[in-house]
């Protein structure tokens, strides 16, 4: 498929992701499409997602790096900034994108988002409301979902 003419920047980024992976993150390109990555993020320690293995998919559109990568969770997750389809509310994936950012920085930001849910800028209204009204209980639900859906099987 369209792997020839893969921009040098993407090749470099991919090589580095494979040779020096960031802690708790793995990203490898699909064989058929070098712009499409299978991603795993481990739930950060001291977060409700600790112990979970979260699968994501990432795609570099034709305009990359002038346009941000497209990323979403494939593993169900209870988080105010992630919706039922795994779409992520994160400014650098939208208007705060800059070509100086990389796949690695995007994945690190997503990992950080797991450590610091932001119910004031929600994507899932119900989960955000839950978080704001009863954080202890919301965190319990997030832990429960991590056990149920992100056990890494």
């Amino acid at each position: 498929m369209a792997n020839s003419n893969l921009p040098r920047r993407i090749i470099k980024e991919t090589q580095r992701l494979l040779s020096e992976p960031a802690p708790g993150i793995s990203a490898s390109p699909s064989e058929e499409n070098m712009r499409y990555f299978n991603v795993m993020i481990l739930g950060p320690s001291q977060s409700p997602y600790e112990g979970g293995v979260f699968k994501l998919e990432l795609f570099l559109p034709e305009e990359y790096p002038m346009a941000p990568p497209k990323v979403r969770f494939l593993t169900k997750i209870y988080h105010p900034n992630i919706d039922k389809l795994g779409r992520i509310c994160l400014d650098i994936l939208k208007d705060k994108w800059s070509p100086a950012l990389q796949i690695r920085t995007v994945l690190l930001s997503i990992q950080a988002l797991l450590s610091a849910p932001n119910p004031d800028d929600p994507l899932s209204e119900n989960i955000a409301k839950h978080w704001k009204t009863n954080e202890t209980e919301a965190v319990e639900t997030a832990k429960e979902w991590t056990r149920l859906y992100a056990s890494g099987e």
């Binding site: 499409n33 998919e57 795609f59 494939l74």
Partner: protein, 150 residues
């Protein structure tokens, strides 16, 4: 050298486009099951075109995008009863579920599905079906009572 756009991100774009609303609003679509991470089942709506027997009628359709979408077209069937030359009325099995009578859009009789290309979208299917309703061989066909479903 075109970039190969993967299925799931393609469907997410179609979803966002559908949520914004298309053109004059006479065709629309959305996801059937908001929990399905693979976004397979969709509902489409077509408002029958002017100056045809379909005028003012609201037709509901079901579209099913399998794992091989958009390489392969979705299966398309009418949920509302309709008479059109490209729609087959059969009794049988759909998506492995026995559902009695179905109104499948027959790919062989509907050019867009017969000559499917991966750039085509669900919007294209619905828009083209609406045009098909206004084609000479469909615009005057006697229709089932309004608002009846399978």
């Amino acid at each position: 050298m075109s970039v190969y756009f993967p299925r799931n991100f393609r469907l997410l774009e179609e979803l966002e486009r559908g949520e914004k609303g298309i053109g004059d609003g006479t065709v629309s679509y959305g996801m059937d099951d908001g929990d399905d991470i693979y976004m397979r089942s969709w509902t489409g709506t077509i408002i029958g075109p002017h100056n045809t027997v379909h005028e003012g009628r609201i037709y509901q359709l079901k579209l099913f995008c399998d794992k091989d979408y958009p390489e392969k077209p979705p299966s398309v069937r009418f949920h509302s009863r309709v008479n059109m030359t490209c729609v087959n009325h059969e009794t049988g099995v759909f998506d492995y579920v026995e559902i009695g009578s179905i109104a499948l859009v027959e790919p062989k009789k509907f050019g867009l599905l017969a000559n499917w290309q991966r750039e085509y979208t669900m919007e294209d299917i619905l828009t083209q079906l609406k045009k098909e309703m206004a084609a000479p061989h469909n615009r005057k066909l006697v229709q089932p009572p309004e608002g009846t479903y399978f």
